[in-house]
């Protein structure tokens, strides 16, 4: 005599809504992703609106303050800063993804080898990391970049210089995670049932490590963009390219503030703050995602 209600239908939930709801809770991840998406859209769609050639010297009238024609103004050498920002951000993203990707890859491989096989391999990898960590990496990169022929430095060499001494962080993180993972029960079970070393690494441990790998990747992108920016600000970048750090270095060596060309250093600085800020926020958000223990106390 009970009135049967409509049969209970399993609610169809896509991945999008839970994801958005999670972003609402994890504010730093959400805000960081939004800023990053805007920047990516700017540099992607910007390619259609500006002429990439205007990002190089002697293409537009020089020293114009921001106006309708040149929204970000033009610099002393005759670059359109709007075009320079579009091209420069694209190059920055390239350096970040290439250097971050290679660094994370080396870190994951070395971390796995070190933790999984142990013994003298582990000891030597750990010692090398311990010796290299206190050495200020940025300064060694200055030596590397300084000893290269400045005419042959390209965006890609910048990425390689940056990654050369930046794999120790992910190595140590992945190593410690694999060490704890190795002692878990599911790994012992797999081992006892005769799964090979490679099988355990790729099928059992790696999938569980993905959040940490993702966090390490974003962290490496942040460090790579940071390091490439510092090298460029010191005048060690590929001088012709409109990398944001290069533009600031040029503005500073021409005394932009003394001469009243304030927009020249300010525009790339704001762009860099947005890039690094969004990456730092995403990094904080991912930390919270992969390690719920450090959730905020409020």
């Amino acid at each position: 005599m009970t009135i049967s209600t409509a049969p209970h239908k399993p609610q169809k939930t896509g991945w999008l809504f839970p994801f958005l709801r999670y972003l609402g809770r994890n504010k730093s991840l959400g805000i960081g992703l939004v800023i990053l998406l805007i920047l990516v859209a700017f540099t992607l769609f910007g390619q259609f609106f500006v002429d990439p050639k205007d990002a190089y010297p002697l293409s537009v009238p020089s020293k114009r303050p921001p106006s309708w024609e040149y929204p970000f103004g033009t610099d002393f050498y005759g670059r359109d800063l709007m075009a320079a920002m579009v091209v420069g951000m694209w190059q920055t993203a390239f350096i970040g993804v290439v250097a971050g990707g290679i660094g994370t890859f080396i870190g994951v491989v070395l971390g796995f080898v070190s933790a999984y096989f142990g013994g003298w391999v582990d000891a030597s990898i750990r010692t090398v990391c311990q010796i290299l960590t206190p050495i200020p990496v940025m300064l060694i990169q200055v030596v590397v970049a300084g000893s290269l022929d400045k005419r042959s430095v390209t965006i890609f060499t910048m990425a390689l210089i940056v990654v050369m001494l930046a794999w120790m962080g992910p190595t140590l993180v992945i190593r410690s995670q694999v060490l704890t993972m190795k002692e878990r029960q599911f790994v012992s079970v797999a081992k006892l049932s005769g799964v090979s070393d490679m099988g355990i690494i790729f099928k059992e441990i790696l999938p569980n490590l993905l959040p940490f790998v993702a966090a390490a990747f974003v962290g490496q992108i942040f460090l790579a963009v940071f390091a490439a920016f510092y090298l460029a600000v010191l005048g060690l970048g590929p001088l012709r390219e409109p990398l944001l750090g290069n533009i600031i270095w040029l503005a500073q060596s021409q005394g932009a503030f003394f001469n009243g060309w304030w927009w020249w250093p300010i525009i790339p600085s704001l762009g860099m703050i947005l890039i690094l800020g969004s990456l730092a926020l995403i990094n904080m958000g991912l930390d919270e995602l992969s390690n719920p223990r450090i959730r905020r106390s409020e």
């Binding site: 000893s147 600031i248 503030f257 003394f258 800020g277």
Partner: protein, 331 residues
Amino acid sequence: MISLILRRLGFLMLIIWSASTIIFFIPRLSSVNPVRERFAELSRLTGYAPDDLEKIVQSFNKQFGLDLPLWQQYIDYLGNVITLDFGYSLNRYPTTVVELIAQSLPWTIGLILFATILSFIIGNLLGAVAAWPRAPRWLRNTALPFVLLMGVPPVLVGVLLLFFVGFQLKFLPLGGAYSIGLLPEMSWSFALDLLRHQILPALSLVLGSIGGWVLTMRGMGITIQGEDYVNFAEHKGLSGHRIFFDYYLRNAMLPQVTAFGLALGTVVTSAIIVEGLFALPGVGTVLINAIRANDFPVIYGIVLFITISIAVIMTLLEFLYPLLDPRINNE
């Protein structure tokens, strides 16, 4: 105790050795010859191209010992590193690299000390207050903007400060160590002028580094709150002031000093770049000028000098731990 000191010193030697080895071999792997590079630049600037350039390069190679076999150069070099002899500047020839560093080092040390002490004090106080349950709400939230500034490199903070404070408001000078036309002398007006030129560089270093101290101190403060000895102190009726400084800050000091040691490399790099931005006559400006002029011995000398100093300071900090925390006795 003695074995521990020896082990630490051995590790220090290992760090110095590997840094100097990297700095020795990297330039020799590259195809650029500093002497030839320098002459090429001279002839570009003056229009004078010597016919027998190769002969000149060879005689320079002989003078600097670059014609010796690589292993012998390496051993000589290690000997020079131990005696802190980094050779001559190519650009300002009779001056040695050590003299250049000695001239500019006081400026850099002054800037770093001033900025670090300031941000350490402000950051730790703000962080402790942010975790302190009895603090008013507005005071707890003052820490937030500094945490947001953490990801921003100090040199960018410097550009923004230059724009707003130096360029728009014209409060403070745009760069240099003291006003053009002034001679260094011991007088109040000169000291004041000097200080005015240091404010913006120091501020750009301080603003970005407060956030790190705030975050760790706040985390530590929150964990310490739950500890029995703090509860006991509260129930004993100790004043909030006493608990804050003696029970709270004191216990958080050790991890903070460790963090300081780890952050030292970043702090020095940032300081160098900020100096370049503000054209202060410190090590950073010497380095940037050397990069601009292809003055290779100066670049390598400065990098090596900074690396060694950081390694030495980090080792000294480790010996300080037992003083900061009597529970550690280095056994």
